[in-house]
């Protein structure tokens, strides 16, 4: 009883010792704050790292394939049993992405993923990362009529109401307008040129007549005429003047021949009849080959399906062919609906990481603004190898339908998603005879709490590398270097911070020695009154523990309060120092993430109390060993 009473009284009356446990308080508070913030960050980071990676993955090597995925999924289901939440098949291969940024070409490497519309979202956190809110709810690879209201703050006001479809329609109607104007202009040039050449021919004929009449002094200015023509008539097609100048040497009586591809090749535009008329494809073909008649101004423009105004290498596909069917090209004439109209149609949808398209730019007011190199509604081109050993590059047009942003730069700057079935067809992964499609990766999501490593090991045993050239790994394996670096950082940080508490322990040790010296006489009295050494010792151990409890309690309260109000504190620090403590732009978090783990708080508290008790052991032993007579005599 006296032990408790005295410990308690010492605690209440010896404030010097309380001062020595402030370091315990600070150490405990710091440990709690740092651990909470770190685990908050680690949790956010892990969920981001995990985001579009599945728990476990059975992957074929690069450009390789897993044949008969149905068989594999069945085997996996047998092996893992109830642990499986869901599975999906993915085709993954590196690709080159190309798009126009204000007329200049931008190319970069991406990891192209062919994903299954339905099952991919159930295996990864893909859908919540999509930027179009409608797509999050109802996923498809088609363009949306909904806009991006969440981007008001990002400095893109026209995006908020403007949907991808609105943008696409506006863009291509403007292009069509401009192209029509340009063609009209060209026609005027042509007329002027023809007129001029007619004049020159007349002059030439006059000269010939004069020659015939014997007038040798008449000027021969045919070349000068050509030179004039070159400088005056500036057609966008530089071949035109040459053709025109050549025309003068062919002979004045003949009509000036036109370059057959003039309007199609340079512009990518195709002259076709009005859509409401029944298209006469034989006539179109004749126009194409003949060329000259195509300049008929009454003809309505239609876009060539691929490669609109990219360069001169237009392929003449009027519609999309099924790539698996090698005879598709030779099928009967396409209907009007089969013609690709960018104002109404889209290519295969593609979803790009936001970091691929987004760049920072400085606006007129000097503020940083977001600039999007492409936006949903634009067309992009992807180039990738076919499957198998003798891979051939394929180029394919896609329409950007949405962005996704997992806020993991590594993913956001490299992943592009297209529909699985399209990619399988284009890459030659569909067997033309059976129609079976192979995949490159099978992604598995396990149930909450399932052991990922155990599942991976089971699958590895089922698909041994001797028989199956697969790479089987968990998402943590993929991100092992980063995760282990973070883990080590956390460990070292904890170790260092625990040193703070250890230092506090030495403070307690020193204070306690002083208190034991001060209390020598009291110890003597207690012993004289029959208190055993163990009792005297436990007074000081109890005192140490009481100090530890008080220090830890204060530290826990302080730490938890700090964690609770950390964002407010960061703001205050920012106001006071003028230095931004937490930049949401860098971390992609709007607030400092914190997770308080009760186990961690408990462990830190117990550790601190233990250190306080251990620090009081030596002084307590000294007190216990005091000889009562010596102690009583002590002045």
């Amino acid at each position: 009883m006296y032990k408790l009473l005295l410990s308690w009284r010492y605690l209440r009356t010896r404030f010097i010792a309380l001062a020595s446990i402030i370091s315990v308080t600070l150490g405990v508070a710091t440990l709690i704050v740092v651990n909470s913030v770190m685990s908050g960050f680690v949790f956010e980071m892990k969920s981001r790292l995990h985001g579009i990676l599945s728990d476990v993955e059975v992957a074929a090597p690069l450009l390789g394939q897993i044949h008969n995925p149905e068989y594999h999924t069945r085997i996996i289901r047998d092996v893992l049993g109830d642990d499986i939440e869901s599975m999906t098949c993915v085709v993954r291969n590196p690709a080159l992405l190309t798009f126009d940024v204000n007329g200049r070409q931008w190319t970069q490497q991406v990891m192209l993923l062919g994903i299954d519309d339905e099952s991919f979202g159930s295996v990864t956190d893909f859908h919540p990362y999509l930027q179009n809110t409608h797509k999050r709810e109802q996923f498809s690879f088609s363009l949306e009529e909904q806009g991006y209201p969440q981007w008001v703050s990002a400095g893109c006001p026209d995006w908020t109401t403007d949907s991808a479809w609105d943008y696409r329609r506006r863009k291509f109607s403007k292009i069509r307008e401009a192209e029509t104007r340009r063609l009209e202009q060209e026609k005027l040039y042509d007329l002027a040129a023809a007129e001029y050449l007619e004049q020159q021919a007349a002059k030439s004929r006059a000269w010939d007549a004069a020659q015939a009449a014997g007038d040798t002094q008449a000027p021969r200015n045919g070349e000068a005429v050509n030179a004039n023509y070159n400088s005056n008539v500036q057609s966008p097609d530089t071949r035109q003047p040459i053709a025109a100048s050549q025309a003068t040497f062919i002979g004045p009586e003949q009509p000036v021949p036109r370059a057959p591809e003039k309007h199609m090749s340079a512009s990518g535009f195709q002259h076709v009849p009005l859509p409401d008329q029944a298209p006469d494809f034989a006539a179109i073909h004749a126009q194409e080959t003949a060329g000259v008649e195509a300049a008929d101004s009454s003809a309505t423009l239609r876009f060539a399906p691929t490669h609109h105004f990219n360069d001169g290498k237009t392929t003449r596909e009027f519609r999309k062919f099924d790539p698996v069917d090698p005879y598709a090209k030779y099928s009967p004439e396409p209907a009007v609906e089969d013609f690709f109209d960018p104002e109404k149609d889209q290519y295969t949808g593609i979803i790009l990481g936001l970091a691929i398209a987004k760049r920072k730019t400085i606006g007129e007011d000097g503020e940083l603004k977001d600039f999007y190199m492409v936006r949903p509604g634009d067309d992009v081109q992807i180039m990738f190898p076919t499957v198998g050993g003798s891979a051939k590059p394929i180029s394919e047009n896609c329409t950007l339908v949405d962005f996704y942003s997992s806020n993991m730069h590594e993913y956001d700057s490299s992943f592009a998603f297209v529909p699985l079935k399209e990619l399988q067809k284009i890459r030659g992964m569909v067997d033309p005879l059976t129609g079976d499609a192979s995949v490159s990766t099978i992604q598995i999501k396990l149930k909450e709490g399932a052991d990922l490593d155990a599942a991976r090991d089971k699958l590895m045993a089922q698909f041994p590398p001797e028989s199956y050239p697969y790479d089987i790994h968990t998402w943590q394996d993929t991100q092992r270097p980063l995760l282990s670096a973070v883990h080590m950082e956390l460990t070292i940080l904890n170790l260092l911070l625990f040193m703070i508490i250890a230092v506090a322990g030495f403070g307690i040790l020193a204070t306690f020695f002083m208190i034991v010296v001060e209390k020598t006489k009291d110890i003597g009295v207690l012993k004289a009154l029959g208190a055993p050494s163990s009792g005297v010792m436990s007074i000081f151990l109890g005192y140490g523990m009481a100090l530890g409890l008080v220090g830890t309690g204060a530290g826990v309260v302080l730490g938890l309060l700090f964690v609770r109000y950390i964002n407010e504190i960061a703001e205050v620090v920012q106001v006071v120092t003028g230095q931004e403590v937490f930049d949401p732009e860098i971390y992609y978090f709007s607030e400092i993430p914190t997770i308080v783990s009760p186990t961690m708080v408990l462990l830190v508290g117990l550790g601190a109390i233990l250190i306080a008790v251990m620090a009081s052991v030596l002084p307590a032993l000294r007190a216990a060993r005091l000889h009562p007579v010596e102690a009583l005599r002590y002045e």
């Binding site: 010492y10 207690l526 009154l529 055993p532």
Partner: protein, 272 residues
Amino acid sequence: MSRSTITKPVTIDSMGSMELKKHSAGATQLSAGATPPLKLAMPTLMSASNIHKSYRKGELEVPVLKGVNLEIAAGSFTAIVGQSGSGKSTLLHLLATLDAPDQGAVHFQDRRIDNLSPRQRETIRNRQFGLIFQFYHLLPELSMLENVLVPKMVQDGFFSYLRNKRAYKKRAVELLEMVGLGHRMAHRPNELSGGEMQRTAIARALISNPSVILADEPTGNLDEENGGEVMETLDNLREQENLTVIMVTHDVGLAKSADKTIRLVGGVVVSD
């Protein structure tokens, strides 16, 4: 005086160990058989035989007691006098088992106590001896009442103390009132005068109903008036509680009121 024969077995029975109980049974028989009507006829309660004690100061060994023999009768008031350094305090410490003699033996109730285990000596100190010091040695963090209760707290475990707290408190209040400090129970030692503190120390020495009061210069630090008051209190209590008192003092005047005076000179008893 008849009370002594009743109270003593009670106090002895309350001792912890079986061994001690056996002894106490013998003592009870002894005192019960004798039925002494007078103090002088009381049996020997404590005795010391041929006690040697020396302190080592560095290389030098300083002999303090060189063969002291003494006997203390139950219920007597013994004064040990002598000059500073004559070893009287050391003798008291040896009697109180705070220290062990180099040679010789201390007997208490016919039992040798100087070579007992620390645990047993602590029990004897706690229950049989009441110690009073020159500098009072009250615990400054505790109130007067708590200071008086300290021996009881030391004696009992946590729960048995809580169980008996009411009785202990009653006894402590009674004792404090007996020493005339009923109105200062809640005060801290530093709020009291030296005489009051010493009287509290007396109350503390009496809380566990000891057989012997061992006092080391109880008035040494007090002025005449306060010293007189303390001595008066001690005398009264001795009468009331039938105590055996052994008091170390250098004040010959105080020693005069004792039944027996032992004079120590240079570590040897020169006169009884």
